[in-house]
Symmetry: C2
Subunit: 102 residues, 2 copies
Amino acid sequence: MTRPDDSLDRVIHEPARLRLMTLLFVVDEADFTYLSNQTGLTAGNLSTHMAKLENAGYVAVDKSFAGRRPRTVYRLTDNGRNALVAYRAAMDDMLGRIDPSN
Amino acid sequence: MTRPDDSLDRVIHEPARLRLMTLLFVVDEADFTYLSNQTGLTAGNLSTHMAKLENAGYVAVDKSFAGRRPRTVYRLTDNGRNALVAYRAAMDDMLGRIDPSN
DNA sequence: CAAATAGCTTTGTGGCACAAAGCATATCGC
DNA sequence: GCGATATGCTTTGTGCCACAAAGCTATTTG
């Protein structure tokens, strides 16, 4: 018995959140509605997933008002960017040997 | 609301099983004890994970005897190999834009 | 022959993803 | 000005599942 595998950050690993993280990585910032549309997540699920990413310190939230309507804008923190890059590295490492021609 | 994300096969996506699948991909066949040693999974967890991979049709099991002791040998099915290759493709697609220098 | 080891399978449980319900404000129809 | 519908979320409820622990069968060892 060596050690259980924890090279893949579970917070990022969840498909919905992985999607959200990669989205935020490229667009830099996005509001709640945009993220919901892009991912197809219901408001409820999106809300809880974002809360989890917040708690992990991977995203920062800015709640303001656009006119009289609330507007919630998310962006990755430096920590979040680093964690995602590390996740990609771990995944590449894991899948590196998976070759279609094999 | 577009569609929820199901491009990543959940059976494979689970880290423990991803590890097992990639292992089997390269070694071609492996017995229970070897897999337990390599992954650090307890016998219980390994057993249930392998059962899940079996049910998905991704691994084939051969139970035989080495001398008088039982020996359980696993290998990927063609289906399993294809699914893993597809998983890698989906993951590459998802992470393609995650560039450390960005 | 009792105790330990090997090789698993089954059971129990906490955590979490997801859906549904709830809540607050805002605009629209009449 | 007042229901009805929409917008923008948060909270609640529940079923599933990964993981650990316990259990089970057979075999080897002192």
